[in-house]
Symmetry: C2
Subunit: 84 residues, 2 copies
C-alpha cells in the first residue's frame, strides 16, 4: 500500500452568490485594501489515503468529494494527489 | 496596473485540534472509505487584485491575510499569485 496526500479545493460555483466572500470584499475597503476585489471563499481540505495505486487513490478521493466533501448543487471541487 | 489572481489556503495549525476534520474523518468509515485518514479542513480563498507590480500585489495579499483572512493564533496561510 502506498500512502498519498490529497489537497482538495471546494468552491462555490461561479453562478452562485457567495455572501461571505462579498462581505469580506467589503471589509477590504476599511482595511485600506480597496484594490482587492471579487473575493470568493470555499474550503481547502487535506487528507491522507492508503491505496495500492495512484489511480485507486484518485478514484477514492473522487468518491469522497462527490458523496461527502462537496455539495455538487452549489459547489465544485478540484484536487491533486501525491505520494508521501 | 496589472491584474493578479491570488489563491490562498488558510489551514488550522498542526498543533491545533480540527474538530470538523475529525468528524468528517469519522464519517468516511460509514461511506466505506476507511482508508481515508487525517482530514483537515480549512479555507480556500480566491481574489483579484490590481497592482503596478507582482511584488506590490504580494505585499497587499500578505497584509489582507494577516489582518483579515487568517487568525494567526490558530491558522496559518499560504498563497500564490499570478497575472491574469
Amino acid at each position: 500500500m502506498i500512502k498519498f496526500q490529497a489537497e482538495i479545493d471546494v468552491m462555490p460555483k461561479k453562478e452562485i452568490l457567495d455572501p461571505q466572500g462579498k462581505a469580506v470584499t467589503g471589509s477590504m475597503k476599511n482595511l485600506g485594501l480597496a484594490e482587492i476585489q471579487n473575493i470568493r471563499i470555499g474550503k481547502h481540505i487535506t487528507l491522507e489515503i492508503e491505496a495500492p495505486t495512484a489511480e485507486i487513490a484518485h478514484a477514492k478521493v473522487e468518491e469522497a468529494c462527490k458523496n461527502l466533501l462537496a455539495n455538487l448543487i452549489m459547489e465544485s471541487y478540484t484536487f491533486k494527489i501525491e505520494a508521501v
